[in-house]
Symmetry: C2
Subunit: 168 residues, 2 copies
């Protein structure tokens, strides 16, 4: 998108924070800002890898979740909870995946309120192929070394637990 900057803007921000008397919160500010920016970079890579499949990250996540479900189907509210996104976001994703013929909606056999999302045969194939590309092009070339990956999993896992994501 843009040429590399001559200097790290987040390090500059950290310096500004220190100079304005907020030295105590300057490091967490820098860490949080770095997380925001890193997410942006990773999302761009992921969406780039998924573009040939006509998928976005949101739709891929739903597809992958379904492909790991034993029966290949899941209630919408379950998907919303597992993906940690708003129910309306799932509705949106399902609308488009259904339009592409990758999933279908069907009524829940016993609960009339619930809608089941089910992978189609094509959806299962696309999920498999997209995962293979993500594995080789993104996850396999993350740029994090093994030790740092472990650190990230540990640090962010603790954070998410404390934030109330899961009980464990």
């Amino acid at each position: 998108m843009a040429a590399p900057l001559p200097r790290d803007p987040i390090a500059d921000a950290q310096r500004n924070w220190e100079e304005h008397g907020w030295a105590d919160v300057a490091p967490p500010m820098a860490a949080i800002t770095a997380i925001m920016r890193t997410q942006q970079i990773l999302l761009a890579r992921i969406e780039g890898a998924l573009k040939p499949f006509g998928l976005t990250f949101a739709r891929y996540e739903l597809l992958a979740l379904l492909s790991f479900a034993r029966s290949g189907e899941l209630p919408m509210n379950k998907a919303s909870a597992l993906l940690q996104v708003h129910p309306t976001s799932v509705t949106n994703a399902v609308d488009r995946l259904e339009g592409s013929g990758l999933v279908t909606r069907s009524p829940h056999p016993t609960d009339g309120r619930t809608t089941l999302i089910e992978l189609t045969a094509e959806g299962r194939i696309v999920a498999k192929r997209a995962t293979a590309v993500l594995n080789t092009e993104v996850f396999g070339q993350s740029g994090f070394d093994a030790a740092d990956v472990d650190q990230l999993i540990r640090i962010l896992g603790t954070f998410r637990r404390n934030a109330g994501d899961f009980a464990d």
Copy 2:
């Protein structure tokens, strides 16, 4: 948004990856997914803290950037580069900040193509107050301990440099 899950969905995904023969990329997959989710949690906290000011994170970042500029003004393309966002996003943010009376647009004195963004007096006050709230409510209670903050800054700093964010 949702009740805590009984188990960590990212740890489950990592297990699924291992069981499907992708054990080599399972850890980076988990780390990257954790970054995506952590960003989501942090963004929600930040936007919550900024809501009373009528600001979003995107608009706050622009406001903060201007408040640190000596003259309190910056060309749009400079802001776009420093914030690492698309020029149209800056246009959008400036439109709204201008509508709220926090910034003004003015023509560049020598380059007719360039538009300068300038903080208003009120904009400067709002930036100061919003920063104070963010410092106490978000950065001051990040949930990361000091050692982990250092790790994050180091790991993500290396990643961003390798990704071409900055040369340093």
